[in-house]
Amino acid sequence: MFVSYKWLQEYVDLTGITVKELADRITKSGIEVESVEILNKGAKGVVVGHVLEREQHPNADKLSKCLVDIGEGEPVQIICGAPNVAKGQKVAVAKVGAVLPGNFKIKRAKLRGEESNGMICSLQELGVESKLVPKEYADGIFVFPSDAPVGADALELLNLDDEVLELGLTPNRADCLSMIGVAYEVAAILGRDVKLPTIELHENDENVHDYISVRVEATEDNPLYAGRIVKNVKIGPSPLWMQTRLMAAGIRPHNNVVDITNYILLEYGQPLHAFDYDRLGSKEILVRRAKAGETIITLDDTERTLTEDHLVITNGTEPVALAGVMGGANSEVQNDTTTVFIESAYFTSATIRKASKDHGLRSEASTRFEKGIDPARTKEALDRAAALMVEYAGGEVVGGVVEVNTLKQEKVTVTITLDRINRVLGTNITKEEVATILTNLQFAFTEDNEIFTITVPSRRRDISIEEDIIEEVARLYGYDRLPATLPIAESKPGKLTSYQAKRRKVRRYLEDVGLFQAITYSLTSEAKATMFALETAKPIRLALPMSEERSVLRQSLLPHLLEVVSYNRARQVENVAVYETGAVYLTKDAHELPEEKERLAGAITGLWHANLWQGEKKAVDFYVVKGILDGLFHLLGLEQRIEYKQAKREHMHPGRTADILLDGNVIGFVGQLHPRVQKDYDVKETYVFELALTDLLNAEVEDIRYSLIPRFPSITRDIALVVDEQVIAGDIQQAIIEAGGELLKEVTIFDVYKGDRLPDGKKSIAFSLRYFDPERTLTDEEVTAVHEQVIKAVEKQFGATLRG
């Protein structure tokens, strides 16, 4: 809402309050003033000039040579390029030395050999937006009414010295979509009175019912419909002051009748519509829902097809207006209109919102109906419009009002105690202070023993409960006067849940071993949604996606992590190590919420370690990533319960991928991307993992119990076993552990060899076995006995031979 500072003063005395101060106080009290703009944008030195002579420029077809009286002695010669400049006009002249918006300085000049002492201006040149300039002046200079005094300040006459406050209204404050509404707000803030317009309406002896009748079928959408007939109007321009106020508010002037309806819309917040009575084609108005497929050509010359959701004003048979949104072209007021039917109605918001949305039409009227207008002003606005049409369009008001009123006017009263106000706010506001605030708001109230009973005026539809009154008191009392306290309550310590604490530790661990945390989008494409997923389900698709790329909820974090690797590689970052924790979404039934499970995924590529001058350079491989995960399981106390099993997974390298099992259940995988996928993503050798974080963190782990620190020496024996290439280390290790029994405490692999010194198809794996007993020193013989068993076991199970 744009509020003219000059216009506002018609309703509230602003003496002693500057625009800036006003803006600050409005903002502080609850409505944000988004900007304050001076309309002339810095222009000065523009006066009213009288074009005494106009002749063709001798050397230029499109220029005129004018002699203009600017009220300073001798008339001056000005060259003008506007097509509509003519002798006898009163025009806006930027004198030599004047400044126009954009700091454009007017100098004496010669144009095609002719002297020009100033410039005759269009409204655009004075800072008015093109879309607001009346159509007749859109392509030329502006022409003042003939009574404009020569030499007077043109900017002042055009009210361009005015300043406009732009209010950013929250949806609850639709009451401020009118000058009177803003006046009430400002009056409440300043503690001053509101002066409402006085309406002097003279009706003739005729009866409006002889002209027109009204029926409303859709009373739910249209609880109040009122209208008047004004005859003998003469269509012409509206007074300059009205035009300038409309422009300041962002509405383009048209003609006196239309301007008056718009002026009332701005003043009262009540949208009006003026029909050409003679073009209605009947003597009746019927308000009803449109029939499916019915059409109307609206004022913007667009044919619109309607549905049963839309409300229309009809002449009994065909639509003449799309109610509350836009009038019909068939009944539009034109230059030859003499009799006007003014409609002032209350349409409910839902139907207007639907129509406005369906037709992509948001008008000043529809905006107000959507947000809710005050029906108590509907008839007053109608009377005021009729009175102005008498005054500025020479009309005559036919006696009486046609009206259908099914409105249930319920008075809203709120009862609240002073104690409640203070208890909710934490203040010590007195009852006198509350009374002053309510008085300033012009809310009728009674107070008895600190109990306030308030009758809420119909213009404030946002107020209906105690809390609304508390807010009114608080904002006008001033939030800066609110004390700062802390809740008085038993103080319980806050704490992360065990899950949250573990998740934080997991993240910290991964970062400390060299991975960066990434956060990627949950929405992905259908193709990527199920890629790599540990568990797949039917993809969850958005009803109205914005793009195919963001249309389905992910079931794995990896596709987007790989995009991160790819994104970085495209920017010459070749070594990337990232991880992410986040939800995947698995649905069972489309009508239930999906299950959200947290996953932990990582992607690592490039060099893992490099210390070049010492000759160290290590590219990421499977075992780097496995080592990181081993550390993670160790951190969570799960290392004994984890198993890696060679696995084949789609999109993964068939020979370099392992499933990870916790207590025998697959909870994730690790491995190298399939080279085909690496190519698709345009990344080099990349290793990835994804784990079911929820399961990992929820796995029950025993509390830490101290165990004896060994006091007795241990004995270490190494063995190198030659086995078939297909035999895997994990199986041998498992067999050793089983055969080693109680005394064998640790088995470490310290060498793997394949090559010339062994027969084809064979490899050697060297294990280091550490034996000890916490209770005593072991003898060589005991260890040898156990060790022999171990060797026998592996020889038997794997055909292993000791390497000499």
């Binding site: 502080k28 934490g426 700062a484 809740p487 319980k492 949950s522 969850i540």
Partner: protein, 344 residues
């Protein structure tokens, strides 16, 4: 004999001085103090002396021997010291060469901000509540006083999956769910961080996915002044001890009264700069007293209980705090961006 001893001492001391390494020094020791050395020889010849001369000469011999001995020891220590120094000198390295790198990653800047806020409120007795990102219309809107048909819940603004299920547009449904779990009994004191989604085109200031942190306190006798005190405490811990806050009246469907909360600019201290656009204040939070409809729908008696709620955007805070110019950075995960947030 006496002259001979003095001469030997003289000779030995000169040779000790001349000895340039431990071996030469040892040669001197053997030559003068050895069993076959001249001093032993002198001792042997003492039998020829008179009983009166013998003790005198004996003392003299010891004196000479000790003098040589001590000179030897001194020189030995010196030479050993030199040897050690020489060895250490040969072991010198170039300390300016780079160290063996330790690989370190770090938190995403949003996690950094979120954890800082979480910890701050945990310190004030809050717990962290989490909830689903795919949410029922009821919890996302209806339970928050946004009934069906309310303009703020347009299909155009939210990612709906079915008519009743959507991606949550704020973390407020976690508040509704938590209150419901409390079955009408306070206190409730939670912080809800999480991802939220809105139907926005991604650009420098909009993201269809972003994060939010909201807080909720419901109990008997919770006052709006408690909200002010709590948020002031938060602002000071988060942005510096001399920060102040101010409330500006606003409107949210789920709170009444509602306010926007500004923090005095942490860049200029409130004098006005380009961070605060010259106002001295930065809008950080939306807040208010929980709307009685919201309390009632979650099973709380709004005559007995009151509460406050507040919400903020970690992206906005991170952008202000670290001077980040484009919200898309958070979701592109450029390593060169991420690694800037490594410091503790």
């Amino acid at each position: 004999m006496k002259e001979r001893l003095q001469q030997l001492q003289q000779e030995a001391l000169e040779k000790i001085i001349a000895a340039s390494d431990l071996k030469a020094l040892n040669d001197v020791r053997v030559a003068y103090l050895g069993k076959k050395g001249p001093i032993t020889e002198v001792l042997r010849g003492m039998g020829k002396l008179s009983p009166e001369e013998r003790p005198i000469m004996g003392a003299l011999v010891n004196e000479v021997r000790e003098a040589i001995q001590s000179a030897l020891e001194e020189k030995q220590a010196k030479l050993e010291q030199e040897e050690v120094e020489k060895k250490l000198a040969s072991e010198a390295i170039d300390v300016t060469l780079p160290g063996r790198p330790v690989k370190l990653g770090n938190h995403h800047p949003l996690t950094r901000v979120i954890e800082e806020i979480e910890d701050l409120f945990i310190g004030m007795g809050y717990t962290i509540a989490e909830g689903p990102e795919v949410e029922k219309d009821y919890y996302n809107f209806e339970a928050l006083n946004l009934p069906k048909g309310h303009p703020a819940r347009d299909m155009q603004d939210s990612f709906y999956i079915t008519e009743e299920i959507l991606l949550r547009t704020h973390t407020s449904p976690v508040q509704a769910r938590t209150m419901e779990k409390h079955q009408g009994r306070g206190p409730v004191k939670i912080i809800c961080p999480g991802k939220v989604y809105r139907r926005d085109n991604d650009d420098a200031t909009h993201s269809h996915q972003f994060t939010q942190i909201e807080g909720l306190v419901v109990d008997e006798n919770i006052r709006m002044s408690d909200l002010k005190g709590t948020l002031r405490e938060f602002a000071r811990k988060m942005f510096g001890e001399d920060r102040d806050i101010r409330f500006r009246p606003s409107f949210f469907p789920f709170t009444e009264p509602s306010v926007e909360v500004d923090v005095s600019c942490f860049n200029c201290g409130g004098h006005g700069c380009n961070v605060c656009k010259g106002t001295g204040w930065i809008e950080i939070l939306g807040a208010g007293m929980v709307h009685p409809n919201v309390l009632e729908m979650a099973g709380f008696d709004s005559k007995k209980y009151t509460g406050f709620a507040f919400g903020m955007g970690p992206e906005r805070i991170a952008m202000l705090k670290y001077g980040i110019d484009d919200i898309r950075h958070f979701y592109q995960n450029d390593i060169r961006f991420l690694q800037q947030f490594h410091r503790v």
